[in-house]
């Protein structure tokens, strides 16, 4: 990436000489996935001209926005060498929380959104403490948290979804309703075109990219993910960073949940498991983008876009859902073969 070097490349560093002649491999590795993306767009564009309309591309962005936001959050935990399985459940919990606050407590937009973000941060904090202080392995702690939240979010309504006028477990009727401002988060379109969720996604993607790639905090997080011991010995407050990563992940997931609630307009009972898998897929595909080979925010965003475009195009072409799953899997595997198989990283 850096055209660095004060000294001329020394003779016994063979890897510095790569640039002589046209090297196909590194280019294939670096741009393979992006090329595939472009080809895919071109193909769908030819097959179905309306695919390439601005409106449709906005639709694609909108459809990936929530997954992308979750994926960006989980990327932060991947960077510090962790993994957050609870994001789907956090999003579902946040969906229920915001609905509950507005519909049952009659709360306003700010209260609803604020409570969700607080819940996300709190869950992230608890995850982080379980992992850092009690040294529960990441997967295990967040899996436990996932089950816990899946149950917890249904307890207040006894498994009912939340809508204005619903009957509460105690027999009374909920009097609140979704506020217009809250619904606007899901429905208002800037310039009558771009939904707010897309803007939120773009903003968060930019934020986390800058954070991870260009700030010293990001550097330290990568260092922790690569060699926690060395980072600790170099003076990094490893615990604090790891907890912070889980809090980022929790907050992002809760933002996803808020946008979901605003779009759906009710507190839908859902496990969020599909969100989890799609977000994880996006974050992992991100490894392959630009041959990064490690978690990175830009890659995650492109990974989410990749899946979104693919599914949108296939839906336009009337492919049934199972064929979409199949093609999604096949394209994923093929793209990864391309990227990882060609890169000759040493093992």
């Amino acid at each position: 990436m850096q055209p660095d070097l004060a000294q001329p490349a020394s003779a016994n560093l063979p890897e510095r000489k790569r640039s002589e002649g046209f090297a196909f491999r590194p280019i294939a590795v670096r741009y393979g996935l992006v090329t595939l993306l472009v080809l895919m767009v071109a193909f769908f564009g030819v097959m179905e001209p309306s695919f390439l309309s601005v409106r449709n591309l906005v639709i694609v962005l909108q459809s990936v926005s929530i997954v992308a936001i979750l994926a960006l959050g989980v990327t932060a935990t991947l960077v510090v060498g962790g993994f957050d399985l609870s994001i789907g459940a956090v999003a579902a919990t946040s969906l229920m929380t915001s609905s509950y606050i507005m519909v049952v407590f009659g709360g306003g937009t700010v209260a609803a959104v604020g409570a969700c973000l607080a819940v996300g941060a709190l869950v992230g904090l608890v995850n982080g403490l379980l992992i850092v202080r009690l040294r529960i392995p990441d997967l295990l702690a967040t899996l436990g948290m996932m089950f816990l939240l899946l149950g917890l979010q249904l307890i207040p309504t006894e498994g009912r979804s939340i809508a204005s006028g619903m009957t509460l477990p105690d027999g009374s009727t909920a009097t609140g309703s979704f506020t217009a401002a809250f619904l606007a988060l899901g429905r208002y379109r800037v310039f009558d075109l771009v939904p707010i969720s897309v803007l939120v996604m773009l903003a968060l993607a930019l934020l986390i990219t800058v954070f991870l790639t260009f700030t010293r905090f990001g550097r330290i997080m990568y260092a922790i993910g690569s060699n926690e011991r060395a980072a600790r010995l170099a003076g990094a407050p490893v615990e604090a960073y790891r907890i912070a990563a889980y809090m980022i992940s929790g907050v992002f997931a809760s933002v996803g949940g808020v946008l979901l609630a605003a779009r759906v307009g009710r507190g839908d009972v859902s496990s969020g498991n599909s969100l989890l898998l799609d977000a994880v897929a996006a974050a992992l595909i991100g490894f392959a983008v630009f041959g990064a080979g490690k978690p990175n925010a830009i890659g995650t965003a492109i990974g989410a876009l990749f899946v979104g475009l693919l599914l949108n195009g296939l839906t336009m072409m009337n492919a049934p859902y199972y064929a979409q799953d199949f093609i999604k899997g096949a394209v994923l595997v093929a793209a990864l073969m391309f990227t990882f198989g060609l890169s000759n990283r040493p093992r």
């Binding site: 070097l5 003779a11 890897e15 700030t215 330290i220 260092a223 010995l233 170099a234 003076g235 407050p237």
Partner: protein, 497 residues
């Protein structure tokens, strides 16, 4: 800095039993002790990695109790730890590694490489580290990684510098550059605690020697330094004079013909015989490890041929090499040899599980007996033969690696930097054990340090830039000549280029 009655125990085993130690400004204190004496433990207490179990520490007269490594760093205590991979982040490049601790301490939020480049270059230049700043550290040799760690440590303005066996992976040239910087720091009044098993280093640097044995300080030697007495205080016994007569080689076991480890490297032709211990010395980056890897099937040579017992030998993998009777103790102990989740006995038996199993089922007691035997024979300091690796000191971990590869007969035994972190006495014993068992196999030892090589070898090959440039023999060893041959060094060439 002063330590008063510091004790430390892990569970029930007391490692430090009341250590008193003080460091004055501008003084280099050599800290000597046999493997497992507790040196690194002490270092880690000062560095805020471990809490102490008892006693107290003072820094500048004030009580000092670092709660974490970052706390110790803030107090100006800079440490290069013994385990090299604890000092570097492999996935990051040299520049990032050089400035990571600074990033942890604060500074502008945005990380811009440009801002750090000049500084990193200065840090690298100070220790003569000569690699592009954007090289990922994972691509560096162990020695260069060590140099990165040292460069970072020296780049601070430390209040106290602690170097825990910094030269174990270095050859004389790098070590000399390190010494110059350390001496420079000393002149500026920085106290240095220097831990090493190399007498050469200690002779060069030490103002004072403190010896540690089994967790207690057994000697504090002020100038004029009596090295013999220090060694005795550290070991609790006299060290026998080491000298051996050259044993001539028997039949040829391994032969390489015009072997090129990579397309650019020169051809290497050598033959290794039974009975004889051959050492290859060369500066860091001379290509010793690469040669060994070719013989062991861990690297595919670019050209040339190897013959084992007269038959062509082209191992496709280390597995094939082991099956053919070629054993190699790799250079990177933590990365390439030890399995952290395994206990001592499991680490010893790893390549030879077949020998301890019938019908695929492992015989645990035979495995443990075997390991216990080697614990005794190599003097490994460990709670038991089923101790986890994390409970062993660095030198003792190295002995476990050696025990592994010495534990079965073989045709060719390759030891790449086998004496990293091994104390003087143990080095003698292991050298003796090597020589005693050399009869039935060819033995190849790769060392950056000439003293180590001379202690064990019958024949010494000097390697420079991938080529074997001269051959010397024990008994008639002309050190000056060897050093001259060595100094046609890679680094000299590199600088010339």
């Amino acid at each position: 800095m002063a330590l008063e009655g510091v004790t430390k125990s892990f569970g029930a085993s007391a490692v430090l039993k009341g250590v008193d130690l003080f460091l004055r400004a501008g003084e280099i204190v050599a800290f000597m002790g046999a493997n497992g004496a507790g040196k690194s433990t002490l270092v880690k207490i000062v560095a805020g990695v471990h809490d102490l179990s008892g006693g107290a520490m003072r820094l500048d007269g004030r009580p000092f109790q670092p709660s974490s490594p970052s706390d110790a760093l803030r107090h100006g205590i800079v440490v290069v730890h013994q385990a090299i991979n604890d000092n570097v982040v492999l996935s990051m490049d040299v520049l990032e590694n050089l400035c990571i601790d600074r990033l942890c301490r604060g500074g502008p939020v945005l990380f811009r490489r440009g801002r750090w480049r000049a500084e990193a270059q200065a840090m690298a230049a100070r220790v003569g580290l000569d690699v592009p700043l954007n090289t990922p550290v994972s691509e560096l040799s162990l020695a260069d990684r060590q140099m990165v760690a040292i460069a970072r440590a020296l780049g601070h303005d430390p209040k106290l510098l602690i170097l825990d066996e910094p030269t174990s992976a270095l050859s004389d040239a790098e070590a000399e550059r390190l010494f110059r910087v350390v001496l420079d720091l000393k002149r500026r009044g920085v106290p240095v605690l220097y831990i090493s098993h190399r007498m050469g280093d200690i002779r060069r640097l030490a103002d004072r020697i403190v010896t540690l044995r089994d967790g207690v300080v057994t000697g504090d030697f002020a100038p004029p330094l009596d090295y013999g007495a220090a060694v005795q205080a550290m070991l609790g016994r006299q060290l026998a004079k080491a000298s051996h007569a050259r044993v001539p080689g028997g039949e040829v076991v391994v032969e390489t013909r015009d072997l090129r480890v990579s397309a650019e490297s020169p051809p290497v032709s050598l033959s290794l015989r039974t009975c004889e211990v051959t050492a290859v010395v060369g500066l860091v980056g001379a290509g010793k490890t690469e040669l060994a890897e070719c013989l062991f099937g861990a690297r595919r040579p670019a050209a040339g041929a190897i013959r084992l017992d007269g038959r062509p030998f082209a191992p496709a993998s280390p597995g094939a090499a082991v099956a053919a009777g070629v054993h190699m103790a790799a250079e990177d102990r933590a990365g390439a040899s030890l399995v952290p989740d395994f206990d001592l006995s499991q680490n010893v038996s790893l390549p030879f599980t077949r020998a301890f199993s019938s019908l695929g089922l492992l015989g645990r007691s035979a495995e443990r007996r075997h390991a216990a035997d080697f614990v005794r024979r190599l003097g490994i300091v460990a709670p038991s033969e089923i101790a986890p690796m994390s409970a062993l000191s660095g030198g003792n971990q190295q002995k476990v690696v050696l025990a592994r590869w010495l534990s079965r007969p073989c045709r060719l035994l390759i030891l790449d930097e086998p004496f990293q972190g091994v104390d003087i006495a143990a080095r003698r014993d292991i050298g003796q054990a090597l020589r005693d068992t050399a009869e039935a196999r060819a033995t190849l030892v790769l060392c950056a340090d000439l003293d180590e090589a001379a202690e064990v070898a019958d024949r010494i090959l000097v390697m420079s830039q991938g080529a074997v440039v001269s051959e010397h023999f024990a008994g008639s060893l002309d050190r000056e000549a060897v050093i001259r041959d060595l100094s046609k060094s890679t680094h000299a060439e590199r600088h010339a280029a």
